[in-house]
Symmetry: C2
Subunit: 557 residues, 2 copies
């Protein structure tokens, strides 16, 4: 043995769905040459991360080893795989490798965030059998079917053997747009022997074989043919195949297509510019759409997850770009609601219902199919690849565990590797080499903050308990000058005593201040502590909760 | 015509699922004698109502007409039907009517909130054919199957005809505990003719006939028999039939039953005390449970919706009352996750997965059935009752609309009546008589607040944008005394300039203050406005968001 090793470590996407970032390395321990696969985001929510727009992997570990990174590979153009490229690149500065369409999207991400990347660092690559060298690795992008065109699994050859990184995938022989899943190609890749398969786990709990994108052609066609009024369809903008199917169905039923929402237009433009969409009908501009009879129009709109500012939400309430919905129109969610988004999606459905619009959702698969491999499809893929080790990725812990069990049942050596677990793949079985401290970085407005630095904790506390500002002036003799003042935010006006809460608080604080010992009045820290304690105590008695308190003591000197 | 009319008005539960409260009235317009059916709650969440424990209907309209209320009827003991009784009673002071078990739960709610209700106002009533008079109405509780024992539909006879108020129901001939659905009884009730059916709409989108509670007996039995380690099962505490089935299965597989969670014990105690549970096995106390071999134990626990402080959540992390889970144990969600609770439920599932505990959910109906009538069952009920009018209730707008369409397709006159719509039922078709201003009341700690009074809006803003306190002292000559101070809460420490945000803010504010015109410094309102504007402007430049600001100007006089 040379003392070198092959390592794998997820920094995001393992133990969660979203925010994918995986690292492979080869070399002497601590000196491995590294490649990064995907840099994705996940989305914040009011529940756990109020005010946070995007969540990205903590890349501090990578940044500290920047000189060892050979390249950043992007498997496909979904936000949870490419969304953090623009936000992270300046800290990593390694060349980016992607196929054409994916690279076009990555470029948009880089521009959006003002990343200072030279063109030479953007390395567009072709599909397998083309490969390229990244330090000790030889890498190839193998076309694989998913819900966005040009998705790729990776073949990563190292001195310690071949790795297959599935990327996000499903087994779809007829994906409408893009490359079908090709079992012979994968079998050929597997032939020399595969040391480890890193495999998508998203749909491991779905017991039935997945269905092809092409199975929707008939049902979507019938829907558009049979609907009387305007039809609106929402899906992920990146689901270019679905857009194509809907557009074809529109053409067949005499409807013009209008794209609403920036992401929708951008995706169709990019897919067209990169040659993926060649048959997409000419669309009408939103400002011209209202001239077209309703029954001759299909709107393809963003906002399938209930995003408040997206076209779907706007259409369900006041309208969008001059277009409004009415009784007799049909609104189709050609999508699945991601867990956690049920409430905003229902809100839209109910608003549409109030307008008399007929709402259709996936209807048990009639109008939507998943982009991920279900359990039997995962097994099919395992059986094609026949890896020595199966390392589940892209899933919450329960998905990874279930996937590991499937592997073990077939005699594949498996391990649950969650974010920050560095796995040594060089031996007879995958084993944990190291636990790396990792976590999440929040994009808060324009600033990246750590998830554990207390900002969000304070926001959540203010949201749960309200906020009180107490101000007090103390004169040169350490005597209070006048009474303390309170300002409330996010608190009920009156409490149990039915007096104004602010007055009760100010009365209690005044009484305290005027009785306080000199040593308390002299000591800022002590004074602040006492005032906070008192505000919280009085509030608890009056309103049954303890607010967050900011105390400002101003001393005249 | 006597000039009298029969009215119906939902104050909660119509246009939403939860927080049920319905009003019926009969008399001259504006002088109707009223009955209230159910006073339920719904639950707050971080998303829309941070810090709010419970949400209840706004009963201002009822309170203002308190002298016209003949009685408050509680159909069954679910929180969304009985949960607000304790919180509302002091404002309504009408007698409460319920069957035995439901009344026992209502009493607990009243006690919990310290309602000062005399015993004479608690009127326990028997089941149909027993009826009682409430002003112009004669009312009877008709047993109907649901997921809690002793649920009742109501027959409300008025001078203008018979109303059937379904309550929450399913068609279950074998509900394990409690009374089966009795089609003959309902047919007999329908025989004299029913003017209006107010009907549960919860499951109107479920296309297949519902399944009986009894269908779970075999699958739950097999699960308990075949599991090797400790088994934990969670379900709604009020699903007494499910608890009975699980307890029976435990007994059959040699397991002792231990109840964890206050609600679970309370519900079993109440059901036993009121004679509903006669066969429930003797349970072991939590403190004795750890003495029992794991494979001989079943824990029945609260927290099926992921509630953070409930037993299920505690068991998935550090343990509960000395009991901990381990590899080889099984955790069953014998429940459905209510939309909106997916994330907390997943959190528990993943924590259990990390412990190596096998997690089972309803598995497509194997371990859980719904308590509400699915679409075909609703149609069966319509066909039995044969009402003149069908008024859908207990549903979001889209459920009510779908249910209305079903009714209309069979020639039933129907209308969508959402909260605050008073419907006149006396004519040939239901019609809107009036729109009453209504809404939601929040229980915030110990205080009831209105949903529109700005408290929650301010909390959400602080949660999204953080908070800045600015203090400034102005002397007797209207000159600033020293510099303004800023205190931040819930904001990043540093912004784009990489300087401390607080210092950038204070520098900008100081500069402004020392250049400000006298007329600004003299004018509190103007000064405050300018300081807020400046803080928000600087913050936008530094961190890309505009915080909430509290300004305190102290003037020495």
């Amino acid at each position: 043995m040379s003392g070198e090793r092959l390592i794998y470590m997820p920094l995001g996407g393992a133990g969660e769905i979203g925010m994918n970032a995986y690292v492979y390395g080869y070399g002497k321990p601590g000196q491995e040459r590294l490649i990064v696969v995907d840099l994705g985001v996940t989305f914040g929510d009011m529940d756990g991360t109020p005010g946070i727009d995007l969540i990205l992997p903590d890349i501090a570990w990578l940044e500290a080893r920047r000189d060892r990174i050979e390249g950043i590979i992007v498997t496909h153009a979904h936000e949870d795989h490419v969304g953090a490229v623009g936000l992270c690149w300046d800290r990593l500065r390694a060349p980016i490798y992607a196929r054409r369409f994916t690279m076009a999207i990555a470029k948009l991400k880089l521009e959006e965030r003002g990343a200072q990347i030279p063109d030479s660092m953007l390395r567009e690559v072709g599909a397998w059998p083309e490969t390229f060298q990244l330090g000790p690795f030889s890498v190839g992008f193998v076309p694989i079917s998913h819900s966005i065109p040009e998705s790729a699994g990776l073949v990563i050859d190292s001195p310690d053997g071949r790795i297959v990184h599935s990327g996000d995938f499903k087994i779809d022989p007829t994906p409408v747009v893009g490359e079908p899943f090709d079992p012979e190609l994968w079998a050929e890749i597997a032939r020399p022997g595969v040391r480890a398969l890193m495999c998508d786990s998203t749909n491991v709990f779905s017991p039935h074989p997945g269905r092809s994108e092409a199975t929707l052609v008939d049902s979507l066609g019938a829907l558009l043919r049979e609907s009387k009024g305007l039809v609106v369809a929402t899906t992920f903008a990146s689901n270019v195949a679905r857009l194509q199917t809907l557009a074809n169905a529109a053409a067949a039923s005499g409807r013009s297509v209008c794209l609403l929402g920036r992401a929708m237009r951008r995706m169709v433009d990019t897919a067209t510019a990169t040659g993926l969409l060649t048959q997409f009908p000419k669309t009408v501009a939103p400002e011209d759409a209202s001239q077209i009879p309703r029954e001759n129009l299909l709107l393809l709109v963003t906002g399938s997850q209930g995003e408040r500012r997206a076209a779907a939400s706007q259409l369900s309430s006041q309208g969008y770009m001059g277009l409004t919905l009415q009784e007799g129109d049909t609104f189709l969610f050609s999508s699945r609601t991601i867990p956690g988004n049920e409430k905003p999606v229902s809100r839209i459905m109910n608003q549409l219902s109030e307008k008399g619009v007929d709402v259709l959702d996936d209807e048990g698969g009639r109008y939507h199919v998943s982009g991920h491999a279900n359990r039997p499809d995962l097994e099919t893929f395992h059986d094609i690849i026949k890896p020595q080790f199966l390392i589940p990725m892209h899933g919450e812990h329960r998905h990874l565990r279930e996937h590991m069990k499937i592997g073990e049942a077939k005699g594949l050596k498996s391990i649950i590797a969650t974010n920050g677990m560095m796995i040594d793949l060089s031996g007879n079985a995958p084993k944990v080499a190291e636990y790396v401290e990792t976590g999440r970085t929040y994009l808060d407005g324009a600033v990246q903050i750590g998830s554990m630095d207390g900002v969000i904790r304070d926001r959540m506390r203010m949201a749960l308990n309200g906020h009180v500002t107490v101000t007090l002036i103390v004169d040169e003799q350490d005597e209070p000058l006048g009474d303390p003042w309170c300002e409330l935010m996010g608190l009920p006006a009156k409490g149990r005593s039915n007096a104004d809460l602010v007055e009760v608080l100010e009365a209690d604080l005044s009484q305290f201040i005027h009785r306080a010992e000199k040593r308390t009045l002299r000591d800022d820290e002590r004074l602040e502590k006492e005032l906070i304690r008192l505000v919280r105590q009085t509030s608890q008695a009056e309103i049954g909760k303890k607010p967050e308190v900011t105390v400002v003591v101003s001393r005249l000197v």
